[in-house]
Symmetry: C2
Subunit: 148 residues, 2 copies
């Protein structure tokens, strides 16, 4: 198949990807793609992202097992943003165990956490817990690493 | 009200914002916030973004009239991405007249355009049409300007 060419230049080689639950329509997370992650995601129909902190391809779920099966791929009007509709293995996309990374609502009176975690991050990521968010999501260096 | 502090540093002063129709759950677009756009959006409950091409705040709909009323604001697990649930004035978020900027699906056999435009961009943006996407969305310089 032909993989559409996207505009990765505006952000220096990456572009944002929005990830939506194909069944419920819930927005699960937002990540970034580079050219290689885009190619892998479209070809394999399994979500691959670009990890800014590690500087490498990150297959979502590579550590937690919570991979994302890509049911639909959409591109935006100016070729610099992607929407994936996915089936989320394990039910939760967030390294905290919540279904969505967007589980905190900003209300006039403060922040409200909505929902409950579907898994215990310590069971998924080991006794040290997920630690740094990038480590947790990206599956390496559980005891800490710099965010470049 | 207190406006939560977000991590704008990772992308040099901006972060991605995902915009979802509050009623239908459809993802309408993705844009960027800087600190000022974030403050304005949370305080006024009207979507304001940061235009990368113009280097200024862009009140969505400032030219087309298709403003976005913010019904809910969500922040992600690591404070570097925002989800807005909005009521879209005029029904269409995209400068092309389509309801969503994500109106092109990438199928194995090619790109499929889904839906029909809800307005004629030439009527909204003038006889020259929307021209450059950034100009169209951001409402200035209808005859062309560089994307920095």
């Amino acid at each position: 198949m032909t993989i559409p060419q996207l505009d990765f230049a505006k952000l220096g080689g990456i572009l944002p990807v929005v990830v939506q639950d194909a069944a419920s329509g819930e927005v699960l997370m937002q990540a970034f793609l580079n050219q290689e992650a885009w190619d892998l995601t479209v070809r394999e129909r399994i979500a691959h992202y670009y990890s800014r902190s590690k500087g490498r391809i990150w297959k979502k779920g590579e550590r937690s097992g919570n991979i994302q099966h890509v049911e639909e791929v959409w591109i935006d009007c100016d070729d610099d943003s992607v929407l994936l509709k996915v089936r989320q293995e394990g039910g939760a996309a967030c390294h905290t165990g919540y279904r969505s990374c967007y589980h905190r609502r900003v209300d006039p009176e403060g922040i409200t956490v909505v929902g409950t975690p579907l898994f215990d991050p310590r069971e998924v990521y080991g006794p040290a817990g997920p630690g740094d968010e990038a480590e947790a999501r990206e599956g390496v260096h559980p005891t800490g690493a710099a965010h470049p």
